[in-house]
Protein backbone atom coordinates (compact mmCIF):
# COMPACT_ATOMS: atom_id res chain seq x y z
CA UNK A 1 0.00 0.00 0.00
CA UNK A 2 1.45 3.37 -0.93
CA UNK A 3 1.22 6.03 1.68
CA UNK A 4 0.17 9.41 0.37
CA UNK A 5 0.46 12.76 2.04
CA UNK A 6 -0.77 16.17 1.24
CA UNK A 7 1.98 18.35 -0.18
CA UNK A 8 2.16 22.03 0.59
CA UNK A 9 3.66 23.78 -2.37
CA UNK A 10 4.65 27.38 -2.18
CA UNK A 11 4.53 29.00 -5.59
CA UNK A 12 6.63 31.65 -4.01
CA UNK A 13 6.77 35.37 -4.34
CA UNK A 14 9.78 35.04 -6.61
CA UNK A 15 8.61 33.04 -9.53
CA UNK A 16 8.85 33.74 -13.21
CA UNK A 17 5.28 32.79 -13.94
CA UNK A 18 3.37 34.58 -11.27
CA UNK A 19 3.65 37.89 -13.10
CA UNK A 20 5.01 39.74 -10.19
CA UNK A 21 5.43 39.07 -6.52
CA UNK A 22 2.47 36.85 -5.94
CA UNK A 23 2.60 33.96 -3.57
CA UNK A 24 0.19 31.11 -4.08
CA UNK A 25 0.13 28.52 -1.32
CA UNK A 26 -1.14 25.35 -2.85
CA UNK A 27 -2.04 22.10 -1.15
CA UNK A 28 -1.66 19.16 -3.44
CA UNK A 29 -2.90 15.64 -3.33
CA UNK A 30 -0.66 14.01 -5.85
CA UNK A 31 -1.17 16.30 -8.77
CA UNK A 32 -4.65 17.48 -7.94
CA UNK A 33 -4.95 20.80 -6.19
CA UNK A 34 -7.09 20.70 -3.08
CA UNK A 35 -6.68 24.12 -1.59
CA UNK A 36 -5.33 27.42 -2.89
CA UNK A 37 -4.57 30.57 -1.05
CA UNK A 38 -3.10 33.54 -2.84
CA UNK A 39 -1.04 35.76 -0.59
CA UNK A 40 -0.58 39.28 -1.82
CA UNK A 41 0.81 42.46 -0.38
CA UNK A 42 4.44 42.08 -1.34
CA UNK A 43 4.25 45.14 -3.51
CA UNK A 44 2.04 47.28 -1.29
CA UNK A 45 3.42 50.78 -1.41
CA UNK A 46 0.67 52.70 0.30
CA UNK A 47 -0.33 54.80 -2.70
CA UNK A 48 -3.74 55.56 -1.25
CA UNK A 49 -2.30 56.83 1.99
CA UNK A 50 0.37 58.84 0.22
CA UNK A 51 -2.22 60.42 -1.98
CA UNK A 52 -3.82 62.04 1.01
CA UNK A 53 -0.84 64.35 1.34
CA UNK A 54 -0.18 65.14 -2.32
CA UNK A 55 -2.09 67.32 -4.67
CA UNK A 56 -3.61 65.84 -7.78
CA UNK A 57 -0.85 66.70 -10.17
CA UNK A 58 1.64 65.07 -7.86
CA UNK A 59 -0.40 61.89 -7.64
CA UNK A 60 -0.27 61.34 -11.38
CA UNK A 61 3.28 59.89 -11.37
CA UNK A 62 2.18 57.51 -8.63
CA UNK A 63 -0.71 56.23 -10.69
CA UNK A 64 1.74 55.32 -13.42
CA UNK A 65 3.35 52.85 -11.14
CA UNK A 66 0.24 51.03 -10.08
CA UNK A 67 -0.50 49.10 -13.22
CA UNK A 68 2.79 49.67 -14.86
CA UNK A 69 1.90 47.87 -18.05
CA UNK A 70 -0.96 50.19 -18.83
CA UNK A 71 0.07 53.42 -17.20
CA UNK A 72 -1.85 55.69 -19.56
CA UNK A 73 -5.19 54.31 -18.46
CA UNK A 74 -4.26 54.83 -14.84
CA UNK A 75 -3.28 58.42 -15.55
CA UNK A 76 -6.53 58.92 -17.36
CA UNK A 77 -8.77 57.58 -14.62
CA UNK A 78 -7.37 60.03 -12.11
CA UNK A 79 -7.55 63.00 -14.44
CA UNK A 80 -11.04 62.02 -15.52
CA UNK A 81 -12.21 61.86 -11.91
CA UNK A 82 -10.87 65.31 -11.08
CA UNK A 83 -12.17 66.81 -14.30
CA UNK A 84 -15.58 65.38 -13.60
CA UNK A 85 -15.65 66.89 -10.15
CA UNK A 86 -14.52 70.27 -11.31
CA UNK A 87 -16.49 70.34 -14.52
CA UNK A 88 -13.44 71.05 -16.66
CA UNK A 89 -13.82 70.66 -20.36
CA UNK A 90 -10.99 69.05 -22.21
CA UNK A 91 -10.21 70.36 -25.69
CA UNK A 92 -10.76 68.18 -28.71
CA UNK A 93 -7.17 67.64 -29.67
CA UNK A 94 -6.27 66.62 -26.16
CA UNK A 95 -9.09 64.09 -26.13
CA UNK A 96 -7.89 62.64 -29.38
CA UNK A 97 -4.35 62.41 -28.10
CA UNK A 98 -5.60 60.73 -24.97
CA UNK A 99 -7.62 58.22 -26.92
CA UNK A 100 -4.81 57.39 -29.29
CA UNK A 101 -2.41 56.94 -26.45
CA UNK A 102 -4.81 54.79 -24.45
CA UNK A 103 -5.52 52.49 -27.37
CA UNK A 104 -1.84 52.15 -28.13
CA UNK A 105 -1.38 51.31 -24.49
CA UNK A 106 -4.08 48.68 -24.73
CA UNK A 107 -2.30 47.06 -27.64
CA UNK A 108 1.00 47.17 -25.77
CA UNK A 109 -0.50 45.64 -22.65
CA UNK A 110 -2.24 42.88 -24.55
CA UNK A 111 0.97 42.14 -26.39
CA UNK A 112 2.78 41.71 -23.10
CA UNK A 113 0.01 39.44 -21.91
CA UNK A 114 0.08 37.44 -25.10
CA UNK A 115 3.83 37.03 -25.10
CA UNK A 116 4.16 36.11 -21.44
CA UNK A 117 1.13 33.83 -21.44
CA UNK A 118 2.53 31.80 -24.26
CA UNK A 119 5.91 31.84 -22.59
CA UNK A 120 4.36 30.39 -19.47
CA UNK A 121 2.65 27.72 -21.48
CA UNK A 122 5.93 26.83 -23.11
CA UNK A 123 6.12 28.59 -26.46
CA UNK A 124 9.26 30.65 -26.45
CA UNK A 125 9.14 32.64 -29.69
CA UNK A 126 5.85 34.55 -29.42
CA UNK A 127 7.37 36.37 -26.47
CA UNK A 128 10.04 37.86 -28.68
CA UNK A 129 7.61 38.78 -31.42
CA UNK A 130 5.32 40.50 -28.96
CA UNK A 131 8.09 42.46 -27.34
CA UNK A 132 9.41 43.50 -30.70
CA UNK A 133 6.13 45.15 -31.53
CA UNK A 134 5.75 46.52 -28.07
CA UNK A 135 9.16 48.10 -28.46
CA UNK A 136 7.83 50.09 -31.37
CA UNK A 137 4.95 51.33 -29.26
CA UNK A 138 7.27 52.24 -26.43
CA UNK A 139 9.48 54.09 -28.85
CA UNK A 140 6.45 56.08 -29.97
CA UNK A 141 5.65 56.90 -26.37
CA UNK A 142 9.24 57.85 -25.76
CA UNK A 143 9.05 60.41 -28.51
CA UNK A 144 5.77 61.71 -27.23
CA UNK A 145 6.32 62.12 -23.54
CA UNK A 146 9.86 61.22 -22.70
CA UNK A 147 9.46 57.93 -20.94
CA UNK A 148 8.89 54.36 -21.94
CA UNK A 149 6.92 53.03 -19.06
CA UNK A 150 5.91 55.64 -16.52
CA UNK A 151 4.57 58.35 -18.70
CA UNK A 152 3.17 61.04 -16.41
CA UNK A 153 1.55 62.28 -19.58
CA UNK A 154 -1.97 63.30 -18.70
CA UNK A 155 -2.77 66.32 -16.65
CA UNK A 156 -6.03 67.48 -15.18
CA UNK A 157 -7.58 69.30 -18.09
CA UNK A 158 -5.60 67.84 -20.94
CA UNK A 159 -2.28 66.35 -21.76
CA UNK A 160 1.17 67.60 -21.04
CA UNK A 161 2.78 67.70 -24.48
CA UNK A 162 1.47 68.00 -27.94
CA UNK A 163 2.51 65.37 -30.45
CA UNK A 164 5.89 66.17 -31.99
CA UNK A 165 6.42 66.57 -35.71
CA UNK A 166 5.75 63.45 -37.66
CA UNK A 167 4.50 61.45 -34.71
CA UNK A 168 1.03 60.94 -36.12
CA UNK A 169 2.48 59.55 -39.33
CA UNK A 170 4.60 57.14 -37.37
CA UNK A 171 1.55 55.92 -35.51
CA UNK A 172 -0.29 55.46 -38.79
CA UNK A 173 2.59 53.40 -40.15
CA UNK A 174 2.64 51.31 -37.01
CA UNK A 175 -1.08 50.63 -37.18
CA UNK A 176 -0.84 49.46 -40.76
CA UNK A 177 2.07 47.23 -39.94
CA UNK A 178 0.51 45.79 -36.84
CA UNK A 179 -2.55 44.57 -38.69
CA UNK A 180 -0.55 42.26 -40.86
CA UNK A 181 1.58 41.15 -37.96
CA UNK A 182 -1.53 40.26 -35.97
CA UNK A 183 -2.57 37.90 -38.74
CA UNK A 184 0.89 36.40 -38.62
CA UNK A 185 0.57 35.85 -34.92
CA UNK A 186 -2.69 34.09 -35.40
CA UNK A 187 -1.04 31.87 -37.92
CA UNK A 188 1.75 31.20 -35.51
CA UNK A 189 -0.23 30.29 -32.46
CA UNK A 190 -3.96 30.13 -32.70
CA UNK A 191 -4.14 27.01 -34.80
CA UNK A 192 -1.39 25.19 -33.02
CA UNK A 193 -2.77 21.92 -31.76
CA UNK A 194 -0.59 21.75 -28.70
CA UNK A 195 -1.65 25.20 -27.68
CA UNK A 196 -5.31 24.40 -28.16
CA UNK A 197 -5.03 21.26 -26.14
CA UNK A 198 -3.53 23.24 -23.30
CA UNK A 199 -6.10 25.99 -23.14
CA UNK A 200 -9.40 24.73 -24.43
CA UNK A 201 -11.74 23.80 -21.62
CA UNK A 202 -9.34 24.86 -18.88
CA UNK A 203 -10.45 27.15 -16.13
CA UNK A 204 -14.01 27.56 -17.29
CA UNK A 205 -16.67 29.45 -15.42
CA UNK A 206 -20.04 30.77 -16.32
CA UNK A 207 -21.45 34.25 -16.56
CA UNK A 208 -23.23 34.12 -13.23
CA UNK A 209 -20.02 33.32 -11.42
CA UNK A 210 -18.22 36.08 -13.23
CA UNK A 211 -20.81 38.63 -12.22
CA UNK A 212 -20.87 37.41 -8.64
CA UNK A 213 -17.11 37.71 -8.38
CA UNK A 214 -17.12 41.14 -9.94
CA UNK A 215 -14.83 40.20 -12.79
CA UNK A 216 -14.36 42.69 -15.54
CA UNK A 217 -12.58 43.10 -18.79
CA UNK A 218 -11.76 40.06 -20.83
CA UNK A 219 -12.48 37.80 -17.87
CA UNK A 220 -16.10 38.86 -17.98
CA UNK A 221 -16.49 38.99 -21.72
CA UNK A 222 -15.14 35.49 -22.23
CA UNK A 223 -18.32 34.13 -20.64
CA UNK A 224 -20.60 35.82 -23.09
CA UNK A 225 -21.53 38.94 -21.14
CA UNK A 226 -21.24 41.84 -23.52
CA UNK A 227 -20.07 44.51 -21.12
CA UNK A 228 -17.38 46.94 -22.11
CA UNK A 229 -17.19 50.33 -20.48
CA UNK A 230 -16.08 51.94 -23.70
CA UNK A 231 -19.48 51.14 -25.14
CA UNK A 232 -21.77 50.85 -22.15
CA UNK A 233 -20.58 53.89 -20.23
CA UNK A 234 -18.70 55.88 -22.83
CA UNK A 235 -15.99 58.21 -21.67
CA UNK A 236 -13.45 60.27 -23.54
CA UNK A 237 -14.61 60.31 -27.18
CA UNK A 238 -15.15 56.62 -27.65
CA UNK A 239 -18.71 57.12 -28.74
CA UNK A 240 -17.53 58.65 -32.00
CA UNK A 241 -15.84 55.55 -33.30
CA UNK A 242 -17.31 52.28 -34.21
CA UNK A 243 -15.76 49.08 -33.08
CA UNK A 244 -17.00 45.71 -31.90
CA UNK A 245 -16.74 44.06 -28.57
CA UNK A 246 -15.35 40.54 -28.90
CA UNK A 247 -17.20 38.13 -26.70
CA UNK A 248 -16.42 34.51 -25.89
CA UNK A 249 -18.79 31.69 -25.16
CA UNK A 250 -17.39 29.10 -22.82
CA UNK A 251 -15.49 31.13 -20.31
CA UNK A 252 -12.36 29.06 -20.58
CA UNK A 253 -8.77 30.06 -21.14
CA UNK A 254 -9.06 29.83 -24.88
CA UNK A 255 -11.90 32.30 -24.91
CA UNK A 256 -9.90 34.74 -22.84
CA UNK A 257 -7.09 34.38 -25.33
CA UNK A 258 -9.44 34.92 -28.21
CA UNK A 259 -11.10 37.96 -26.62
CA UNK A 260 -7.81 39.66 -25.92
CA UNK A 261 -6.32 39.11 -29.33
CA UNK A 262 -9.50 40.29 -30.95
CA UNK A 263 -9.37 43.36 -28.74
CA UNK A 264 -6.02 44.20 -30.28
CA UNK A 265 -7.67 44.10 -33.65
CA UNK A 266 -10.49 46.33 -32.53
CA UNK A 267 -8.04 48.75 -30.96
CA UNK A 268 -6.26 49.01 -34.28
CA UNK A 269 -9.60 49.79 -35.85
CA UNK A 270 -10.28 52.56 -33.36
CA UNK A 271 -6.80 53.93 -33.92
CA UNK A 272 -7.29 54.06 -37.65
CA UNK A 273 -10.46 56.05 -37.28
CA UNK A 274 -8.99 58.33 -34.66
CA UNK A 275 -5.91 59.08 -36.72
CA UNK A 276 -8.07 59.95 -39.68
CA UNK A 277 -10.22 62.29 -37.65
CA UNK A 278 -7.33 63.80 -35.76
CA UNK A 279 -7.80 67.57 -35.58
CA UNK A 280 -4.90 69.32 -37.27
CA UNK A 281 -4.60 71.92 -34.59
CA UNK A 282 -5.94 72.73 -31.20
CA UNK A 283 -5.14 73.25 -27.58
CA UNK A 284 -3.74 70.48 -25.49
CA UNK A 285 -4.85 71.82 -22.16
CA UNK A 286 -8.24 73.09 -21.10
CA UNK A 287 -8.99 76.02 -18.85
CA UNK A 288 -7.80 74.85 -15.49
CA UNK A 289 -7.44 77.07 -12.44
CA UNK A 290 -3.91 77.40 -11.24
CA UNK A 291 -4.64 75.59 -8.00
CA UNK A 292 -6.60 72.43 -8.65
CA UNK A 293 -9.15 72.29 -5.86
CA UNK A 294 -12.20 70.19 -6.60
CA UNK A 295 -15.29 71.20 -4.66
CA UNK A 296 -16.24 69.18 -1.61
CA UNK A 297 -17.98 66.00 -2.59
CA UNK A 298 -17.19 62.65 -3.99
CA UNK A 299 -17.09 60.95 -7.31
CA UNK A 300 -16.53 57.46 -8.66
CA UNK A 301 -15.44 57.12 -12.24
CA UNK A 302 -14.50 53.99 -14.07
CA UNK A 303 -12.85 53.26 -17.37
CA UNK A 304 -11.90 50.18 -19.28
CA UNK A 305 -8.28 49.39 -18.78
CA UNK A 306 -6.74 46.43 -20.59
CA UNK A 307 -7.30 44.38 -17.44
CA UNK A 308 -10.84 45.36 -16.69
CA UNK A 309 -12.72 48.09 -14.97
CA UNK A 310 -10.42 50.48 -13.20
CA UNK A 311 -12.23 52.90 -10.97
CA UNK A 312 -11.18 55.92 -9.02
CA UNK A 313 -13.19 57.03 -6.00
CA UNK A 314 -12.30 60.44 -4.65
CA UNK A 315 -13.69 62.06 -1.54
CA UNK A 316 -12.68 65.67 -1.57
CA UNK A 317 -13.08 68.27 1.10
CA UNK A 318 -12.33 71.17 -1.17
CA UNK A 319 -8.59 71.13 -0.64
CA UNK A 320 -5.80 70.61 -3.09
CA UNK A 321 -5.26 67.10 -1.77
CA UNK A 322 -7.89 64.39 -1.82
CA UNK A 323 -9.37 63.41 1.50
CA UNK A 324 -9.63 59.82 0.41
CA UNK A 325 -8.52 58.40 -2.86
CA UNK A 326 -9.36 54.82 -3.61
CA UNK A 327 -8.57 52.95 -6.76
CA UNK A 328 -10.75 50.02 -7.68
CA UNK A 329 -8.12 47.90 -9.30
CA UNK A 330 -9.26 45.24 -11.76
CA UNK A 331 -6.44 42.82 -11.07
CA UNK A 332 -7.18 42.84 -7.36
CA UNK A 333 -10.80 41.92 -7.93
CA UNK A 334 -10.08 39.47 -10.74
CA UNK A 335 -7.57 37.56 -8.67
CA UNK A 336 -10.26 36.49 -6.23
CA UNK A 337 -11.52 33.87 -8.60
CA UNK A 338 -8.23 32.00 -8.59
CA UNK A 339 -9.04 29.64 -5.69
CA UNK A 340 -12.36 28.77 -7.22
CA UNK A 341 -10.85 27.96 -10.58
CA UNK A 342 -7.93 25.98 -9.29
CA UNK A 343 -9.44 23.63 -6.74
CA UNK A 344 -9.84 20.25 -8.33
CA UNK A 345 -7.63 21.05 -11.28
CA UNK A 346 -4.45 19.36 -12.09
CA UNK A 347 -1.35 21.22 -11.01
CA UNK A 348 -0.13 21.47 -14.55
CA UNK A 349 -2.88 23.96 -15.26
CA UNK A 350 -2.03 26.29 -12.43
CA UNK A 351 0.16 28.55 -14.49
CA UNK A 352 -2.17 28.48 -17.45
CA UNK A 353 -5.13 29.63 -15.41
CA UNK A 354 -3.18 32.19 -13.44
CA UNK A 355 -1.77 33.67 -16.60
CA UNK A 356 -5.17 33.76 -18.23
CA UNK A 357 -6.54 36.10 -15.61
CA UNK A 358 -3.95 38.71 -16.61
CA UNK A 359 -2.91 40.30 -13.38
CA UNK A 360 -0.28 42.87 -12.71
CA UNK A 361 0.94 42.84 -9.15
CA UNK A 362 1.55 46.54 -9.02
CA UNK A 363 -2.17 46.89 -9.39
CA UNK A 364 -3.14 44.09 -7.07
CA UNK A 365 -1.23 45.64 -4.24
CA UNK A 366 -1.54 49.32 -5.10
Amino acid sequence: MIRTEELLLNVGPQHPSTHGVLRVVVKLDGEIITHVEPVIGYLHRGTEKLAESLNYTQIIPYTDRMDYLSAMTNNYVLCYAVEKMMGIEVPERAEFLRLIVMELQRIASHLVWWGTYLLDIGALSPFLFAFNDRERILQLFNELCGARLTYNYMRVGGVKWDAPEGWIDKVKAFVKDMKSRLDEYHNLVSGNEIFLARVKGIGAYDAETAIQYGLSGANLRCTGVKWDLRKNEPYCIYDRFDFDIPVGQNGDCYDRYYVRTEEIRQSLRILEQALEQFPPEGETMGKVPRAIRPPAGEVYVRIESPRGEIGCYIVSKGKAEPYRLKFRRPSFVNLQILPKLLVGESMTNLVTILGGIDIVLGEVDC
Binding site: P61, Y62, N132, A147, T150, K160, N187, L188, S190, N192
Partner: protein, 148 residues
Amino acid sequence: MIGMMKGLGVTLKTLGTRKSTYKYPDEPIVMPDRFRGIQHFDPDKCIVCFQCARICPTQCITMSGKPNPDPEKKGRVIDTYDINFEICILCDLCTEVCPTEAIVMTNNFELAAYSRDELFKDRVWLQENNTNVRKDNNNIGAPKGGAK
Protein backbone atom coordinates in the same frame (compact mmCIF):
# COMPACT_ATOMS: atom_id res chain seq x y z
CA MET B 1 -0.67 19.24 -37.87
CA ILE B 2 -1.80 22.08 -40.06
CA GLY B 3 -1.62 24.56 -37.20
CA MET B 4 1.93 23.62 -36.42
CA MET B 5 2.92 23.84 -40.06
CA LYS B 6 1.49 27.31 -40.33
CA GLY B 7 3.38 28.31 -37.24
CA LEU B 8 6.56 26.90 -38.66
CA GLY B 9 5.97 28.92 -41.78
CA VAL B 10 5.83 32.11 -39.77
CA THR B 11 9.01 31.22 -37.96
CA LEU B 12 10.86 30.51 -41.16
CA LYS B 13 9.66 33.75 -42.68
CA THR B 14 10.98 35.68 -39.70
CA LEU B 15 14.42 34.15 -40.24
CA GLY B 16 14.93 36.43 -43.18
CA THR B 17 13.75 39.69 -41.65
CA ARG B 18 15.97 42.40 -40.27
CA LYS B 19 17.26 42.09 -36.75
CA SER B 20 15.51 44.26 -34.26
CA THR B 21 17.99 44.13 -31.43
CA TYR B 22 20.40 46.85 -30.41
CA LYS B 23 24.06 46.25 -29.79
CA TYR B 24 23.97 48.21 -26.59
CA PRO B 25 26.36 49.18 -24.88
CA ASP B 26 28.67 49.01 -27.85
CA GLU B 27 26.39 51.31 -29.79
CA PRO B 28 24.92 54.05 -27.67
CA ILE B 29 21.17 54.43 -27.75
CA VAL B 30 20.05 57.83 -28.90
CA MET B 31 16.99 58.90 -27.01
CA PRO B 32 14.46 61.29 -28.50
CA ASP B 33 14.69 64.88 -27.42
CA ARG B 34 11.86 64.72 -24.91
CA PHE B 35 13.42 61.91 -22.94
CA ARG B 36 13.41 62.51 -19.22
CA GLY B 37 16.86 61.86 -17.89
CA ILE B 38 18.73 63.33 -14.97
CA GLN B 39 18.38 67.07 -14.51
CA HIS B 40 20.69 69.92 -15.39
CA PHE B 41 20.67 72.95 -13.21
CA ASP B 42 21.71 76.47 -14.13
CA PRO B 43 22.19 78.47 -10.92
CA ASP B 44 22.30 81.82 -12.68
CA LYS B 45 18.71 81.47 -13.77
CA CYS B 46 17.34 80.24 -10.49
CA ILE B 47 15.30 82.74 -8.52
CA VAL B 48 14.79 80.50 -5.50
CA CYS B 49 11.02 80.38 -5.74
CA PHE B 50 10.85 76.83 -4.34
CA GLN B 51 8.25 75.75 -6.88
CA CYS B 52 10.26 72.71 -7.89
CA ALA B 53 10.75 71.58 -4.31
CA ARG B 54 7.10 72.06 -3.62
CA ILE B 55 5.78 70.16 -6.61
CA CYS B 56 8.16 67.24 -6.32
CA PRO B 57 5.96 64.21 -5.55
CA THR B 58 8.68 62.49 -3.59
CA GLN B 59 10.21 65.54 -1.91
CA CYS B 60 13.63 64.80 -3.26
CA ILE B 61 14.74 68.38 -3.93
CA THR B 62 16.22 70.34 -1.08
CA MET B 63 17.40 73.83 -1.71
CA SER B 64 18.24 77.01 0.01
CA GLY B 65 18.92 80.51 -1.13
CA LYS B 66 20.98 83.39 0.15
CA PRO B 67 20.56 87.10 -0.36
CA ASN B 68 22.12 88.38 -3.53
CA PRO B 69 25.80 89.22 -2.91
CA ASP B 70 25.45 92.19 -5.24
CA PRO B 71 23.90 94.80 -2.93
CA GLU B 72 22.11 96.58 -5.75
CA LYS B 73 20.10 93.64 -7.02
CA LYS B 74 17.08 92.41 -5.16
CA GLY B 75 16.00 88.81 -4.76
CA ARG B 76 18.00 85.80 -3.80
CA VAL B 77 20.49 83.53 -5.43
CA ILE B 78 20.77 79.84 -4.95
CA ASP B 79 23.08 78.57 -2.29
CA THR B 80 22.59 74.82 -2.15
CA TYR B 81 20.51 72.68 -4.44
CA ASP B 82 20.40 68.94 -3.99
CA ILE B 83 18.46 66.24 -5.69
CA ASN B 84 18.33 62.95 -3.89
CA PHE B 85 18.54 60.69 -6.83
CA GLU B 86 17.60 57.63 -4.85
CA ILE B 87 14.10 59.02 -4.59
CA CYS B 88 13.80 61.04 -7.77
CA ILE B 89 11.37 59.36 -10.12
CA LEU B 90 12.26 61.51 -13.15
CA CYS B 91 8.70 62.63 -13.45
CA ASP B 92 9.58 66.00 -14.94
CA LEU B 93 7.20 68.05 -12.79
CA CYS B 94 10.03 70.24 -11.49
CA THR B 95 11.00 71.39 -14.96
CA GLU B 96 7.37 71.99 -15.77
CA VAL B 97 6.84 74.54 -13.05
CA CYS B 98 10.18 76.30 -13.05
CA PRO B 99 9.48 79.88 -14.15
CA THR B 100 12.95 80.50 -15.48
CA GLU B 101 13.90 77.09 -16.89
CA ALA B 102 16.74 76.92 -14.46
CA ILE B 103 16.21 73.22 -14.03
CA VAL B 104 15.83 71.18 -17.18
CA MET B 105 16.14 67.53 -17.97
CA THR B 106 18.85 66.03 -20.05
CA ASN B 107 18.83 62.83 -22.00
CA ASN B 108 21.39 61.14 -19.78
CA PHE B 109 20.15 57.99 -18.22
CA GLU B 110 23.30 56.03 -17.62
CA LEU B 111 23.63 56.79 -13.97
CA ALA B 112 24.55 53.57 -12.29
CA ALA B 113 26.94 54.09 -9.42
CA TYR B 114 28.90 51.83 -7.18
CA SER B 115 27.92 53.52 -3.99
CA ARG B 116 24.77 55.24 -2.76
CA ASP B 117 26.68 58.36 -1.86
CA GLU B 118 27.12 59.15 -5.50
CA LEU B 119 23.39 59.22 -5.91
CA PHE B 120 23.00 62.43 -3.99
CA LYS B 121 23.44 64.98 -6.71
CA ASP B 122 24.44 68.40 -5.52
CA ARG B 123 24.43 71.73 -7.24
CA VAL B 124 27.90 71.40 -8.70
CA TRP B 125 27.19 68.06 -10.28
CA LEU B 126 23.88 69.22 -11.67
CA GLN B 127 25.46 72.31 -13.09
CA GLU B 128 28.19 70.38 -14.79
CA ASN B 129 25.78 67.86 -16.24
CA ASN B 130 25.14 69.85 -19.36
CA THR B 131 25.42 67.32 -22.14
CA ASN B 132 22.33 66.33 -24.09
CA VAL B 133 20.23 68.99 -22.49
CA ARG B 134 16.66 68.70 -23.59
CA LYS B 135 15.46 71.41 -25.91
CA ASP B 136 11.73 70.90 -25.86
CA ASN B 137 10.70 71.54 -22.32
CA ASN B 138 7.05 72.50 -22.63
CA ASN B 139 7.35 74.52 -19.55
CA ILE B 140 4.01 75.82 -18.36
CA GLY B 141 5.45 78.12 -15.75
CA ALA B 142 7.66 80.20 -17.98
CA PRO B 143 7.31 82.20 -21.14
CA LYS B 144 9.09 80.75 -24.13
CA GLY B 145 12.82 80.56 -23.68
CA GLY B 146 12.70 81.19 -19.98
CA ALA B 147 12.23 84.48 -18.22
CA LYS B 148 15.19 86.66 -17.43
